[in-house]
């Protein structure tokens, strides 16, 4: 725009200068005329040039304006890359790969070093025979329960999970199927059906895998009445009420081949359970969960020598408090469970197999644990355990075993922890076992989602 204007004005300024040429030159009129013609031609040429330049400039302006408009349009419209493309991204990640449907694999590795003031070989608990893994852990270095779990949706109606465990028992390795079950995912109205081998939903800790526990070992009551954790082959029906309050009720039928049952009575349906759990929040910072459960068993030669009918009642309560409800960053968890174990049957007579001893009893057990979490890295916990023995019968005892434990846990991340635990166990009136344990526990692979 500027350039053609300048040219034009310089020509216009030049013109009068040319016109007022001195009179001495008038004699050569033809020459002047020629010069004027030449100048006129030049002016015309410049004018033509000017119009070309103007046109070019206008074109340039138009182009710039178009570009600006385009830019504005681009700015106004949402940028294309933020919206996802039609094809689901997962297809690209696993496209054509047969392993794309592999189940989620998660591995828990767990091991410990323990010192015991009382030789575990000579450990006995007054009123409560030791069953399965219900006694103290081994001395020294040992591999704890390390497990591998595979889980996946089967189709739109079923979900499956398989958990294999490896643990060492007196230097001997054992690999076992801990859980292998199928869950329905499409039953209406809050119903869930589970089939296979799984941990019973009675109590609180029983359905939780040991790697989510706050302490190295299970409470004495779990060891005494459920062999640490009761799992068996069976079926479970669970119903979740459509209420604001969390309310879950359900029942299970198990084969009855594992402690506290045995012998798979009633044609392989020796154990029946009923359970109910309720829970909710109190404000933002408090959450609770409480339950009542019953486990009825008909046993024939259970691991503690019992044959007959037994009913185990469990009451459980958990309270968690955390500032702003950030449970992983600090707070307090308090949990307690109470057990009543009613028995009506016989026990194996250690002296004469043919004359079993009558066993009618009502033993009890309980624990209370509290864990204070300082932050995401550290927590400290205290637990008190107690068992109440029968005063009469084959396992009569005037003494009730008890134990006190403290633990300190350091977590590097969600996936790894080290735990130091000290327990003072008084299993009989005149023995004490002081145990110090250092435990590691890590999880690899798929990110597990834990229960409350």
């Amino acid at each position: 725009m500027r350039l053609p204007h300048l040219l034009l004005s310089s020509v216009l300024v030049l013109a009068p200068v040319v016109a007022t040429t001195p009179a001495s030159a008038r004699g050569t009129a033809t020459t002047v005329q020629q010069q004027l013609d030449a100048l006129e031609a030049r002016v015309k040429a410049l004018e033509a040039h000017d119009s070309v330049l103007r046109k070019q400039a206008d074109d340039a302006i138009a182009a710039a304006q178009a570009a600006q408009a385009e830019l504005a349009a681009i700015k106004a419209a949402p940028p294309a890359p933020v919206a996802a493309v039609e094809a689901p991204p997962a297809a690209a990640a696993t496209g054509g790969n047969a392993n794309g449907f592999n189940p989620a694999i998660s591995v828990i590795l767990n091991g410990s070093y323990s010192t015991h003031s009382l030789d575990p070989q000579h450990y006995a608990r007054a009123g409560f025979p030791l069953v399965d893994e219900g006694g103290p852990g081994p001395r020294g270095l040992s591999l704890g329960e390390s497990e591998i779990s595979l889980a996946s949706n089967i189709d739109e109606k079923f979900y499956g999970q398989l958990t294999l465990t490896a643990h060492s028992d007196n230097g001997e390795d054992h690999v076992g199927v801990e859980e292998a079950f199928v869950d329905t995912t499409a039953l209406p109205d809050g119903f869930n059906l589970r089939l296979g081998r799984f941990f019973s939903n009675v109590g609180y800790l029983n359905s939780h895998h040991a790697h989510t526990d706050n302490f190295f070992d299970r409470p004495l009551a779990y060891q005494a009445f459920l062999g640490s954790q009761y799992g068996d082959d069976g079926a479970q029906l669970r119903w979740l009420a459509p209420t604001d309050l969390y309310l879950e009720v359900g029942g299970e039928i198990f084969r009855g081949s594992n402690y506290p049952s045995g012998g798979a009575e009633h044609s392989g349906a020796g154990v029946k359970t009923l359970f109910a759990h309720a829970g909710g929040d109190v404000g933002v910072e408090n959450s609770w969960l409480a339950g009542l459960s019953m486990l009825k068993s008909s046993a024939n030669g259970a691991a503690d020598g019992f044959s007959g009918d037994s009913t185990l009642y469990i009451g459980d309560a958990t309270w968690k408090w955390a500032p702003q409800g950030n449970f992983k960053d600090g707070g307090v968890t308090v949990r307690s469970e109470f057990f009543v174990d009613n028995r009506d049957g016989t026990a194996v007579n250690p002296i004469d197999d043919d004359e079993p001893l009558a066993w009618h009893g009502a033993r009890r057990g309980a624990y209370v644990e509290g864990v204070y979490r300082f932050n995401r890295t550290w927590d400290i916990g205290y637990r008190v355990d107690k068992l109440w023995a029968d005063r009469t019968g084959p396992y009569a005892s005037a003494f009730d075993p008890y134990r006190n434990s403290v633990e300190l846990t350091w977590r590097n991340s969600e996936f790894s922890l080290l735990r130091l635990q000290f327990s003072r166990d008084e299993p009989t009136a005149d023995t004490t076992d002081n145990a110090l344990t250092l435990q590691y526990q890590v999880s690899l692979g798929a990110h597990g989602a834990h229960k409350f």
Binding site: A84, P89, Y159, T184, L187, N192, L240, D329
Partner: protein, 301 residues
């Protein structure tokens, strides 16, 4: 007598199975920002339960009984996705046994509607808490929020056809107001362009990318790993040298590490709302963006 019993039974059955003609769609939202978006898009046509608050770390929520009860009753679950809720949402879905929200139309993951940034090329937990689906903290990118709003509105209309017209009209209204707000925010945030920030967790990449800011350091040595004093010490020089605007943290994060660094560098520590409800001003999505930019501008003064 028998007829009476029969009648009573029939009446009971009828009342049990009768669904109120215009029962509101029940929506469970994992995070407050999607709860606020649902309010924009659906108003009182849906009942929204928000599972977490701005003062909670949504990476590590517990699968509380109260949340299971909420998911049990939901017709639609609206969450961030990209594995942000992997430690708890699968447990809620599984324990609730609610087939409506387990997959398909009843499961709306915001991350599926957009592209994410910082998708890791290598998955290794030695690099911290990495999300294979990319950085899930995209609630601070207005364009992505708009893309999610469009997809969410369509989903609401799909599940609740009776109110489809309302959803469409409310989306148009929201889009217009949101699209008008974006250039206003950008103009207001112009002084922030090119400025450097130190962040607590890598949750601000969408905000800094949008406003042309630069993230020059993170208080967490690796994503999800709590700040250590050794790592914080290494940040002092960087923070001082690079004319840093602020050390930013979310409302739910521990204020101590940022305060520690602020004290030693003279760079202010600023708490940003991070989501709706993160401060007194952030009552909805618009005021949440306003407050975030205001607080950053406050540090620039």
């Amino acid at each position: 007598m028998n007829r009476l019993i029969l009648l009573c039974t029939m009446a009971l059955c009828a009342s049990a199975f009768a669904v109120p003609a215009h029962a509101n769609l029940k929506v469970f939202s994992c995070e407050p920002e999607w709860g606020a978006l649902l309010t924009e898009l659906a108003g009182d046509k849906v009942d929204v339960d928000v599972g977490t608050s701005a003062l909670q770390d949504v990476h590590v929520i517990e699968a509380k009984p109260s949340l299971i009860a909420k998911v049990r009753r939901a017709d639609l679950v609206v969450c961030t996705g990209a594995d942000l809720e992997i430690g708890w949402l699968p447990q809620l879905v599984h324990q609730s046994g609610n087939p409506k929200i387990a997959s398909g139309a009843g499961s709306f993951m915001a991350s599926d509607q957009i592209t994410t940034l910082e998708k890791p090329s290598q998955l290794d937990r030695a690099n911290g808490d990495v999300h294979p689906g990319g950085n899930p903290h995209f609630q601070m990118d207005p364009q992505r929020v708009l893309a999610i709003a469009k997809a969410l509105s369509a989903r609401l209309a799909q599940l609740d056809g009776a109110n489809a017209a309302t959803y469409q009209q409310r989306l148009a209204d929201f889009s217009a107001r949101w699209s008008a707000a974006i250039p206003r925010w950008e103009a207001k945030a112009a002084p922030l362009k090119g400025r450097n920030v130190v962040v607590h967790h890598n949750s601000w990449i969408y905000l800094t990318t949008w406003l042309g800011m630069h993230e020059i350091g993170s208080l967490e040595p690796k994503p999800g790993v709590p700040p250590t004093s050794a790592h914080l010490a290494t940040l002092i020089d960087t923070t001082k040298a690079q004319h840093t605007l602020a050390i930013i943290r979310a409302a739910y994060q521990d204020p101590k590490p940022a305060d520690w660094l602020a004290e030693r560098t003279g760079v202010p520590a600023v708490t940003l709302p991070f989501t709706v409800g993160g401060d007194a001003q952030s009552r909805d999505l618009f005021s949440f963006y306003d407050s975030t930019i205001d607080k950053l501008l406050g540090a620039a003064k």
